[in-house]
Symmetry: C2
Subunit: 318 residues, 2 copies
């Protein structure tokens, strides 16, 4: 039986390499998602997820995450999590709770402490330095404080036909205390139904939650559309609608996979993503938006691109 | 031009009586929603919304609320709000922010303080007593601590053709610290598009967020279904799906109105709601679920029912 994973951004690669081995060995989609996202959370050079994620305006790292089981629709989510080493692991655990499965703020670390999860100060020296530099730049110019909101989010299909998805994000750099985006919100940041498929998002959370695009992508797949048709139609229809009704639309990028392991992506910005299936070893792609709301142009990331990426994220910060 | 409001639960009545006057006087749907929900939040005898809302397991009142503008899809939301007098007012204000429009935990009161909103200890003597009594009952029996999750949520259509919706809730009684439900989640607790209609929910948030039913109801209205057809199809299809896939489904009740002022409700439990339009003075209805997933039976609440309700919510607590 087919199996596979699709995930947002280059940073998902090392996680996907582990998750796909889980799936090849008949492991569950739940395990693959948690294993994969945990690796991304733990790598200190990814500045928008987990340890090393950039802090909010007062210098605190606050993280959002969610997990969804496509068999029974169980959802666990956290928003504004502080000092919890792996938000995705806590979210997965919460998904088994009939009540109190979405926790915010202080409540996350209190729950994690009581349940024996690992705590950690999630602020790295590097992230602190980046924050200090931004404060200084902001004091000198009218620079918008907000940029960088790259959520790692992914969908997995296992050999038993079960699907799951997960998200993890530090949200907007320099966000206000307690700000959350779409990542922990069902239907917006993620949605999965094992009988159909799943979709997850990254981009400007404030705008993504206006469209419920992950839910809409899954719904369109249920009508017979391929993942590429579904995710493109859901995303581009709403991008146009929001531009018409609000006058502007933030960055939107979505990935989707159906329960046959077919996949698709939609985006209105340049966007990297990772796919692995039983027929495709883990591969990093770049997607470029079409000018006419058609399908994005997709190409395998070049060695030059990958080298430049690694050099950029690990470059010393003065 | 038609105008109207529909809202969950009997407790919405006094608010709807004020909101409908706003609408009759050509006021905006935004103003009608905020005015109406503020009244419900301020009334100390409604134990699941605002001042007088029941506290979490450690005795703190934590509130969720959201506001959505159906013209441009602007959303503002708060989860786990403490010590803020009117969460709905803060949510409406947040809806005007391009970034940081959904705040959780500490962040809500910090934002509200800086922006000059009124703060208040939201715990009443009555709520404290109810909490103490429940703790004692729980120590004596295996009673589930969780019950009572009646969100006030409503949709409004104004004479200019604009629609808005809002929600406000103290969530589950005895919830864990930081627990949030569907009320602040776009697509689950609420959704509105002025070119189509709006829908809002109340019930078990942990299950409501599995289905994105407010979004789905609005989507079905966009295909030409009446509000009654749309809300019933969205709700009952998912109730059956969740029963099949998870083995059980919590309480779900939704209200919907389209941009012609037509309305509908769906529920799998006995449920009271309030409607007012240009042709209907504010009216309290009771809905009883159909046995066959058909439309609920709807009747105007009797004087006996209303008297018993008022006596119950204001009865002395020992």
């Amino acid at each position: 039986m087919s199996y596979g994973m699709i995930a947002t951004w280059r940073m998902a690669y090392d996680g996907i390499r582990v998750g796909i081995v889980d799936l090849a060995n008949c492991g569950s989609s739940q395990k693959a998602i948690v294993d994969a996202i945990k690796i991304v959370e733990d790598y200190p050079f990814y500045k928008s997820v987990g340890y090393g994620g950039l802090p909010n305006e007062v210098g605190l790292v606050e993280l959002d995450a969610a997990f969804m089981n496509g068999d029974n629709f169980d959802i666990g989510a956290v928003a504004g999590s502080r000092n919890v080493k792996n938000p995705i692991v806590v979210a997965e655990k919460l998904s088994h709770e009939r009540f109190n499965s979405f926790l915010v703020g202080d409540g996350v670390a209190k729950y994690a402490s009581k349940e024996g999860f690992e705590l950690r100060n999630m602020l790295t020296e590097r992230a602190k330095k980046t924050w200090e530099n931004r404060l200084e730049e902001m004091s000198k110019s009218n620079l918008s404080p907000y940029d960088g909101h790259d959520t790692v989010s992914m969908v997995a299909l296992d050999q038993h036909g079960s699907m799951s998805c997960g998200t993890s994000s530090s949200g907007l750099f320099m966000k206000k205390e307690g700000r959350t985006g779409d990542s922990p919100l069902s239907g917006s940041g993620f949605y999965v139904d094992s009988e159909i498929g799943g979709a997850t998002a990254t981009g400007l959370g404030e705008d993504l939650m206006k469209g419920c695009l992950s839910y809409e992508t899954v719904r369109l797949m249920s009508t017979g559309l391929t993942p590429q048709e579904a995710v493109n139609q859901a995303t581009m229809t709403f991008v146009k609608k929001l531009e018409r009704r609000k006058g502007k639309c933030g960055a939107f990028s979505l990935v989707a996979m159906n329960n046959q392991g077919e996949w698709g992506v939609a985006t209105n910005v340049e966007f990297s993503f990772v796919v692995a299936t039983d027929r495709l070893s883990p591969t990093i792609y770049l997607a470029y938006p079409a000018e006419d709301d058609g399908y994005p142009t997709i190409e395998v990331a070049s060695h030059e691109w990958l080298d430049a990426y690694q050099a950029r994220i690990t470059a010393p910060i003065k």
